[in-house]
Amino acid sequence: MTARPSKSNTVLPGFKPALGYTIFYLSLIVLIPLSAVFLKTTLLTWDAFWATVTAPRVLASYRLSFGAALLAAVINGVFGLLVAWVLVRYRFPGKRLIDAFVDLPFALPTAVAGIALTAVYSTNGWIGSWLEPHGIKVAFTPLGVVVALTFIGLPFVVRTVQPVLEDLEAEAEEAAASLGANRYQTFTKVILPSLWPALLTGFALAFARAVGEYGSVIFIAGNMPMVSEITPLLIITKLEQYDYSGATAIAVVMLVISFVLLLAINGLQWWSSHRHTK
């Protein structure tokens, strides 16, 4: 099952230049800028670093940033799957239009998205004014952060699940039905397990995007310290105060947490796609 590129007998030429270029490119675009973050942080003493990254206001922002991003990714996992399902399985007028709408969060400048969401969800906005009597406030609360992060993460889940769903063979579902499974059982026991790897990928992408999101959130969040202030905003604040090392210190913590979480999701995904072939 495993094809390992070997020196003597590989069909694909150019393994070495391709790998060399890949490493060079990744270094230039990803590794060097990121290592600069780490280097800059080393200007701080360990105590100063620790004091910066564990300040109560910073800790509250981690909770909000990662918590809201996870929640948004979960919401996107569920509803993104639903959207992909509807787009693949049913035929209805306007399907192409809806299919195109899905990509809008990709294309829209995030600030525009943030302002639009704020306008709609503020207490006198279209949806906000309707939610307000029920005691639900969205704009300028952590809930608003979740809404914004859900908005920008949606396309990831839809676009990763959609092609897999399209390729799913109808025969497996027919087989399940002929064996007596009802629709719910067919979905949970046959369809969903095949979609897991793609769903996890979409989830990870949506989560990663949400953790780093800045533009759309700062408009709707209200940015109250300890309540609705996201970590990227704290970094910007530090930069505006010329506290570069403080900013990179927080960035380093974010990077490490994100990396560990993404690694865990990747591991889960590898496990879910490889356990049936061992």
Partner: protein, 355 residues
């Protein structure tokens, strides 16, 4: 359980896949739906299963109308051409699937499920693969697992869609004999779809030959092979030579040859096509009265136990294909370009209107 199909029609857009099909499958028989691709045989099978619904007509199981019944409730075992195994489940879980999805009241206990699944895996001789996943199995193994999975729900009817179509020649042969033996043990009413006449002739109790959405002939393998009802059936069940002839009062005239055709005693100087199988062509070195064509040997292909010959008729240069055993070939000691005398040993005449 017997299956009756009553006047079933099915169209896909303007394409008529099934055109007024009626068919009986008696309880316990193994029936083959045989035909070229696009003849509607798979559609018919899927309608029997309930995976497709007919535009018109009925499907009856044991005399009971099941046309409107969902596939879930029909108690059919369906085996797909490409197996359709659940990739993310072990072989054991695949076979157990049908038992596990039963509602709580009728679901067997875990111990009972284990017993049943291992019994079925033993039946298909693959118990040692219980913990593997489908992608780790060979095609033949997958198909046997698919069969075990279908049998797990104790279906009243077993339906197989080109069950050996995706397998290589040797595995196909083994597996179809094995299927025949299995059927002799279980006696479950079974219908399988195939485009391979050899497979149908070897395995089935009865063959339903289909073409372009209609049934051409139903009969035992012997009947359809020896007594094809239509020119299509004759063509489809093996190689054939065609001779233009005229039939008059019980005699058929092919070129200079006059042969008895008692079944067409009433025909008066009618055009007809004579169908002759290559192995029904008799070859002689010496003329045997006037009842043979003179022909020239133009090609000799030895194929395993038989030798296939191409012969060019002297009177009109048409090519006649003949098959002789190796023994007979050695006896005749034929070479390219030699002249021989040939005549049909047996033939089937179809009058021009029917052909």
């Amino acid at each position: 359980m017997s299956i009756e199909i009553r006047n079933v029609r099915k169209n896909f857009g303007s394409f008529s896949a099934l055109n007024d099909i009626s068919l009986d499958v008696p309880s316990g028989e193994l029936v083959a739906l045989l035909g070229p691709s696009g003849c509607g045989k798979t559609t018919l099978l899927r309608i029997i299963a309930g995976l497709e619904s007919p535009d018109q007509g009925q499907v009856l199981f044991n005399g009971e109308d099941t046309t409107e019944r969902h596939v879930r409730e029909r108690q059919v075992g369906f085996v797909f051409q490409h197996y359709a195994l659940f990739r993310h489940m072990t072989v054991f879980e695949n076979v157990a699937f049908g038992l596990r999805v039963r509602p709580k009241q009728t679901r067997p206990t875990e111990a009972e499920i284990h017993r049943r699944v291992h019994e079925l895996l033993n039946l298909v001789q693959l118990d040692w693969l219980a913990d593997r996943y489908p992608p780790q199995l060979s095609g033949g193994q997958r198909q046997r697992i698919a069969l075990a999975r279908a049998l797990a729900v104790e279906p009243k009817v077993l339906l197989l869609d080109e069950p050996f179509g995706a397998l290589d020649a040797q595995v196909r042969k083994d597996l179809r004999r094995w299927l025949r033996r299995l059927h002799d043990e279980l006696h479950i009413t079974s219908v399988f779809v195939t485009h391979d006449q050899e497979e149908a002739l070897e395995v089935a109790d009865r063959i339903v030959v289909m073409n372009k959405g209609v049934v051409e002939q139903i009969g035992t393998p012997g009947e359809v092979y020896d007594n094809p009802a239509t020119p299509f059936v004759y063509h489809f069940l093996g190689n054939v030579n065609l001779f233009h002839s005229r039939v008059h009062a019980g005699f058929a005239r092919i070129g200079e040859l006059e042969l008895e055709a008692p079944e067409h005693a009433a025909a008066a100087d009618a055009a007809a096509l004579a169908y002759v199988r290559p192995h029904d062509i008799d070859i002689q070195r010496e003329p045997d009265g006037a009842s043979a064509f003179k022909a020239e040997v133009s090609f000799i292909h030895p194929i395993g136990p038989i030798v296939r010959l191409e012969l060019r008729r002297e009177d009109n240069s048409e090519i006649v294909e003949a098959e002789v055993t190796r023994e007979r070939f050695r006896e005749l000691d034929l070479k390219d370009g030699e002249s021989v005398y040939i005549k049909p040993r047996a033939m089937k005449l179809f009058l021009a209107e029917a052909a």
